[in-house]
């Protein structure tokens, strides 16, 4: 029984030896206190040779990322979606996406209409990629906003420390009590009435970010607490740098790896959040075909024309999966010790 196995009974498999060695080397280089050195020693170990020239942290991470098959597939899928979202509405005539044409309703897929047409005779392929523009731009903007707010809040809290830190964290606790969906719906309602002609991104981004930046702030604070112990912070202070400069010039750049992971972790949430709100009719408003709007439309015709639901559903699901794979791959690439798990 594998459950009963422990390391004394059964000789460890080769991969486990590699893992153990990796751990040991990780420990050793942590003593040196340098993440980059740790990564470099890992790469040297996996190449089976002595450490050669030192490569930069990002080069190393990129190399490891490129070896991670599911992360590369995820990145490829995201890139294809972004490219199609940008170029399909430019290269193709977008009129069939909006023009109601009952003569051509519910057509099966063909060259003219790769995904067929909906019950109003609109081209599903075009609507899917115009929707991708809206959904993807909302998702990535939300991640960036969350990141910016989270970095600032977490960095200040972690750097200043003491009473300020505990108050700021308590306030964050208070905000954790906010129910996500009601506040998002209220935000959409407030903003879309204040800016009636604005594109959906204007009201969707604040609505989806308002209750979503807490985790990023927590992570950033944790990073800050451990990084500010480092000698380079002391050095910067000795050189006369002020708090603002130390935080944003010296410490924040060191957290870039973690923050990139946060971006890709937030994309799935934002994609699903947009779809949820729009599906309920309280997100992107119908003439704009976001994926959530398309899914809502597909739900209405789920019995009559299943592809209408399947196209947005699969686009949403594959984007979420791809972003998760990229986030996992990045995390592993930036912290080889994480691969032990």
């Amino acid at each position: 029984m594998t459950d009963e196995r422990n390391q004394q009974d059964v000789p460890p498999e080769p991969s486990e030896v590699a893992d153990l060695r990796l751990e040991a080397q990780g420990e050793l280089s942590t003593l040196a206190g340098n993440w980059g050195a740790r990564l470099a020693s890992f790469d040297a170990a996996s190449a089976g040779g002595v450490a050669g020239e030192q490569r930069s942290l990002l080069q190393d991470a990129g190399r490891r990322f490129a070896r991670n098959r599911s992360a590369m597939v995820g990145l490829f899928v995201l890139l294809v979606y972004v490219i199609l979202a940008i170029f399909v509405p430019i290269l193709q005539d977008t009129a069939p996406a909006t023009a109601i044409d009952y003569d051509n309703k519910q057509l099966s897929p063909s060259w003219a209409h790769p995904f067929g047409t909906d019950p109003q005779g609109r081209d599903i392929w075009l609507r899917a990629w115009i929707g991708a523009r809206i959904s993807l731009s909302i998702a990535f903007t939300v991640s960036l906003v969350i990141l910016a707010v989270g970095i600032t809040y977490g960095a200040v809290s972690g750097y200043v420390g003491g009473r300020v830190d505990s108050t700021m964290m308590r306030f964050l606790d208070a905000l954790y009590g906010l129910p996500y969906l009601p506040f998002a719906i209220i935000m959409v309602s407030v903003l879309s009435s204040k800016f009636p002609d604005a594109p959906p991104i204007v009201y969707m981004v604040p609505a989806l970010s308002i209750t979503a930046w807490f985790t990023a702030a927590r992570i950033m604070r944790g990073q800050m607490l451990s990084l500010k112990q480092n000698d380079f912070v002391e050095g910067a202070r000795a050189a006369g740098a002020n708090g603002f400069r130390i935080v944003f010039r010296h410490v924040v750049p060191n957290t870039i790896g973690v923050m990139i992971v946060v971006i890709f972790l937030e994309v799935p949430n934002a994609i699903l959040g947009e779809a949820f709100l729009s599906f309920l009719g309280r997100g992107v408003q119908p003439p704009d075909p976001s994926w959530g709007v398309l899914a809502q439309n597909g739900y209405t015709y789920a019995d009559a024309q299943p592809p209408l639901l399947w196209v947005p559903a699969l686009l949403i699901a594959s984007t979420v999966l791809a972003a998760i794979a990229v986030a996992d791959g990045l995390r592993d690439a930036l912290d080889p010790r994480g691969q032990v798990h």
Partner: protein, 312 residues
């Protein structure tokens, strides 16, 4: 322990104040005060109504009045046709939503934690991959898609078999029907449990106390249950509060599709112009309070699981 619980309980008062104030401030900014945009109202009637609802009072007085009413259990009158008491409407529907949420949560926790533990014990084996794949799929496929498919009862298979038609139970009339919404909603949060438990269990299994307890001669089963599982439950329980909040709001979409008479329809329809601000406010605040109370309970459970937390 008692002091810790008391401190956490006291802390939940400002937490509730912050969330009610945010809700209040945002709802104040909402479009269409019910009486300003109505051309059928004579100016004098409108002014009287505004006075009745206290809409011309100073901002903070309105907020104070609102909180006072809230504490006394008075949520005001709905501005929708019928002008029913908001409290009455909510007490009719919120228990249903909470029951759905609680059942789905229990189902998801039970299955999710079980799968997470199995996944961690068989880490990187075939079972682990199957569970992880299943959990990732359940996360990625939006719950409204699952719910829609469930209601339509169709299963799409490759050509020789084609589309199969089933009758899956849904609705809320009998417990037989309730299985549908509970299962679909539970499925949407199950992956969070699985992922959390898997990673914290793996972490726990690498700790030295595991080696120690094995060295003491404790059986593997006992070590896992007594030491690894107990310690890996802490992060899971800490996250249970936000997860339950997620279930409660995630149920909105399931309630709509699977015809559950919960609070969702009420809340979402309250945004149809003119916005029924009292209904929106009452629902939002109640959900906030519910989450705060749940987080308080979670804090207490964590303190029991890990006495070190209560000591500082």
């Amino acid at each position: 322990m008692f002091a810790y619980v008391l401190r956490r309980a006291l802390w939940s008062v400002p937490v509730i104040l912050v969330s009610t104030f945010l809700a209040f401030a945002l709802v104040k900014e909402m479009p269409s005060e019910p009486f300003t945009d109505n051309p059928k109202l004579a100016p004098s009637v409108r002014d009287n109504l505004r006075e009745l609802y206290g809409l011309d009072d100073p901002y903070l007085k309105q907020y104070a009045d609102f909180v006072t009413d809230l504490v006394q259990g008075d949520f005001g009158l709905s501005t929708k046709p019928g002008h029913r008491e908001v409290r009455e409407v909510i007490t009719e529907t919120l228990p249903t939503s909470m029951l759905l949420g609680a059942c789905a949560f229990a189902f998801a926790a039970f299955i999710g934690i079980g799968l997470g533990v199995i996944s961690a014990l068989k880490a990187n084996g075939i079972t682990d991959y199957v569970i992880t794949f299943f959990a990732t799929m359940a996360f990625a496929l939006p719950s409204f898609v699952v719910a829609t498919l469930w209601v339509s009862g169709k299963i799409y298979l490759p050509p020789p078999i084609g589309t199969l038609q089933f009758e899956f139970p849904y609705g809320w009339d009998s417990w037989g029907d309730r299985i549908g919404p509970i299962l679909v909603l539970g499925l949407s949060i199950m992956p969070y449990f699985t992922r959390l438990v898997r990673s914290s269990m793996l972490e726990a299994l690498q700790q030295e106390y595991i080696t120690t307890s094995r060295a003491k001669g404790l059986s593997w089963r006992r070590t896992v249950v007594r030491h690894a599982l107990r310690n890996s439950m802490i992060p899971t329980v800490i996250n249970a509060g936000p997860l339950f909040a997620f279930v409660l709001t995630g149920s909105f979409i399931i309630e709509r599709i699977m015809i559950v008479p919960g609070v969702a329809d009420l809340f979402i329809d309250a945004f149809d112009s003119p916005v029924d601000s009292r209904m929106v406010l009452a629902t939002t605040v109640l959900l906030s309070v519910l989450i705060v109370v749940l987080n308080l309970i979670v804090d207490m459970i964590v303190a029991v699981l890990d006495p070190r937390i209560a000591r500082d």
